[in-house]
């Protein structure tokens, strides 16, 4: 192989000088924009639903859309894979994209749109004061993939790259559950991973938190109802944060983590 003209030492240092710091300004500055065709969260305005219309029901691949009592539609963003089939099928624009990357919720029911005039999901509150004091500036997580397809894992890994630099928030993924303050789970939790996941959880010292990332870990995702899976982390463990998406955009995951730790500027302003 032909030797390069200059050494990689000088080349890579020059590259560093020219490009400068590549870590995004967010959360102090504005968040990076979502891809133009990424719809962000969905909202559902049942008052716009045409009388007796159920066009969105048969097109939803995960049955995230159901008919409640009195024929009103509800949409579970925990089950949703954001394929947009319902948005395309809806004749009245009752279900539509918000372009908002923020989707993480503390309670499962906060992701269900429709009932009780909930048009948008209810975003997560921070941990209580005691846990925030413990984890607010240093949160070590063990990641467990339990049937994940490697997409949620990949976009969680992205948070460790120089553009996102998760370390600057004191959040790190560690190699052992004994070093961890909690688990970040991906995948629908296969029966084959049930024992390993339970053992990993048990090995994390108390107090600990559990984060379910992606449609699979929340409700089973594309595999909802399969006998080979438990249908999400909550079937086995108490979950403290649900981050929807298939997979969630890295910005959605980061927003969820920072929201939980009360590290977002917008939250401090609201108070």
């Amino acid at each position: 192989m032909k030797a390069p003209k200059t050494s990689y030492v000088i080349d890579s240092l020059r590259h560093r000088l020219v490009t400068g710091c590549q870590t995004m300004a967010y959360p102090k500055g504005p968040p990076p924009s979502l891809p133009e065709r990424h719809g962000g969260a969905l909202k559902l305005d049942v008052t716009k639903c045409a009388e007796g219309c159920s066009a969105c029901l048969p097109v939803c691949p995960t049955e995230a859309i159901t008919l409640g009592e009195g024929g009103s539609v509800s949409l579970d963003l925990g089950r949703c894979v954001f394929c947009a089939a319902c948005v395309e099928a809806c004749p009245t624009g009752a279900v539509s994209f918000t372009r908002d990357h923020r989707m993480a919720a503390r309670r499962r029911e906060d992701l269900v749109l429709g009932p009780g005039d909930q048009t948008e999901l209810r975003l997560a509150d921070a941990l209580d004061a005691k846990l925030r004091k413990l984890f607010g500036r240093s949160l070590k997580l063990r990641q467990v993939s339990a049937g994940g397809c490697a997409a949620c894992e990949a976009d969680t890994n992205v948070l460790g790259t120089i553009g996102w630099d998760l370390d600057r928030f004191g959040v790190q993924f560690v190699a052992s559950p004994r070093h961890a303050d909690g688990l970040l789970i991906t995948g629908p939790v296969t029966r084959a991973m049930e024992l390993a996941l339970k053992k990993t959880y048990d090995a994390v010292p108390d107090p600990k938190i559990v984060i379910a990332t992606g449609a699979c870990a929340i409700a089973g995702g594309p595999f909802v109802g399969h006998p080979e899976v438990l249908g999400g982390a909550a079937a086995l463990l108490p979950v403290d944060l649900f981050i929807p998406g298939c997979p969630p955009h890295p910005l959605t995951i980061l927003d969820g983590l920072l929201r939980l730790l009360d590290r977002l500027e917008e939250r401090s302003k609201e108070k």
Partner: protein, 493 residues
């Protein structure tokens, strides 16, 4: 070669009536397959289909030089059949899978155990292969690993630092995809296919869509075929760049690791310009593609692609210039050409062992009939070779994409599929970034799936990693593993 086979011949992406698939008594089928593999054929798929009186085995053999696939099946049988594995080790995992799924026994199989059966909340993997001896110790790793990666179990037999044997036991990611496909296509089928291996969604959905189009007796409009080819190369660029960064990280060469981690995201974002999703979800659909892309977006994509490719070339050049990197990679984790051929390896790992194997070139279907890529090959079969092939793939793939973005084809984007034709068998191969993915579908008398077999590149290649570790220091396992970069979920289904 192919004029000698008694099997039915088919080109990639085509289908034929089930009745025209030649049928043999099972021991004869095994002999026919052995002879075909002897002649240079390669086993793409081998699986059982339930029949009224037992099981019928179906085999797909690829004759790469002739760009043809050979299909055959056995007559229904029960009980046992002579194992092909002692003569052709590339059948080993297929036969284990057949035994597990159909309850028939490949007699003479040297290591017959389940592939992905779950018992007691874990895969049924024991007992493991053991090397006895006073100096021998065993190292067990997984299922939960140290990084953010999928679960699998690795059982090493070591003498000091050196690995004598590695057994790889998977099944932790089994979520029932093939079982769920029976009677389909269903509502959730497409999103399940997207999640067979979430980093190779375009490859798997393209294979699936091509099957359906073939079974319906049509093909996707050219614009859709072109768009699929573009998305497939973007998928390759993102994953190769990410893995080169990860390889750099595993030998503590941080400039390339840091740069590639970021550039990988640039490629994912290019895919998101097509469909909104960084992993190409909701882009490929049976009958075509779901969303078109306008000229302004194409221009903008081409600009961003040029920048990302230049960044990649720079970061990869540092890596190849560093003797500390080469020192770790050269002569580490060798799979010889003969071994790679014997076990039926595919993709960059096979090409790094000197085998010319690339579906885009050998079995062109879709857009690859009109626009080809050269095949990147390297002779040595070590970690260096596998990294080298990845970086050559990056260059060729990048150049191909730049060409394609400049010359889009105009046509409809999607065609309505009519009902699937009954009692037909279709085969579709696609070269994912890891290598060949093979989908085979058989329809019943109503045109529903009576069988659907998925073979990810990882299914062929996991045993290659085990061979690469023989005689290699266990401390080199991370770079060997990363140089293959195989899918757990793609193998576990």
């Amino acid at each position: 070669m192919t004029d000698l086979t008694p099997l039915a011949l088919l080109s990639n992406g085509a289908s034929l009536p089930w009745g025209e698939v030649p049928s043999f008594p099972v021991h004869e089928l095994v002999d026919v397959l052995a002879a075909d593999l002897e002649r240079g054929g390669r086993l793409c798929s081998f699986f059982g289909v339930p029949a009224d009186s037992g099981t019928e085995l179906v085999a797909v053999v690829a004759f790469d030089a002739d760009s043809l696939l050979a299909i055959g099946r056995s007559q229904p049988f029960q009980g046992a059949f002579p194992s092909l594995t002692p003569r052709h080790p590339q059948a080993h995992l297929f036969e284990r899978e057949i035994a597990e799924q159909c309850g028939v026994t490949p007699e003479g199989h040297p290591w017959l155990k389940p592939v992905r059966r779950t018992e007691e909340r874990a895969p049924f993997n024991a007992p493991f292969f053991r090397v006895e001896g006073g100096e021998v110790h065993e190292v067990a790793v997984g299922p939960v690993h140290a990084g953010i990666i999928e679960p699998g179990h690795f059982r090493f037999q070591c003498a000091g630092e050196d690995v004598i044997s590695l057994e790889i036991a998977l099944g932790y990611q089994h979520r029932g995809i093939e079982r769920a496909l029976l009677g389909g296509p269903h509502r959730a089928t497409l999103i399940q296919v997207e999640a067979i291996a979430g980093d190779a969604s375009i490859a798997h959905t393209t294979a699936y869509a091509t099957l359906l189009e073939s079974l319906a007796g049509t093909e996707a409009p050219l614009r859709a075929q072109w768009l699929r080819a573009v998305a497939l190369e973007l998928e390759r660029l993102a994953n190769h760049t990410g893995d080169i960064g990860a390889l750099a990280n595993d030998v503590a060469f941080l400039p390339t690791s840091a740069a590639c981690g970021k550039i990988r995201g640039d490629f994912l974002n290019l895919t998101a310009m097509l469909c909104g999703n960084r992993f190409g979800r909701s882009l490929v659909v049976p009958g075509g593609c779901r969303r078109d892309v306008d000229d302004a977006t194409l221009t903008s994509m081409a600009e961003r692609l040029r920048k990302a490719l230049a960044d990649t070339a720079e970061a990869v050049a540092w890596f190849w210039a560093a003797s500390s990197v080469r020192g770790r990679f050269e002569r580490t984790g060798i799979v010889s050409t003969a071994q790679a051929s014997d076990i039926g390896m595919v993709g960059p790992a096979a090409r790094a062992s000197g085998l010319v194997r690339d579906v885009r070139f050998d079995h062109p279907a879709g857009w690859h009939r009109f626009a080809q890529l050269p095949v990147a090959v390297w002779p040595d079969g070590d970690v260096f070779g596998r990294a080298r092939v990845r970086s050559l793939d990056l260059q060729r793939s990048g150049a191909y994409l730049e060409d394609q973005l400049q010359s889009p084809v105009d046509s409809e984007l999607r065609t309505e599929l009519s009902a699937l034709r009954p009692e037909r068998l279709a085969v579709s191969l696609v070269e994912s970034w890891r290598g060949e993915v093979c989908h085979v579908a058989l329809t019943d008398h109503q045109g529903r799936f009576a069988a659907y077999k998925i073979t990810d590149a990882s299914f062929h290649n996991w045993f290659g990693l085990a061979l690469a570790m023989r005689g290699t220091a266990i401390s080199d396992f991370p770079i060997c593993n990363k140089s293959f970069s195989l899918s757990y979920c793609g193998a576990d289904l």
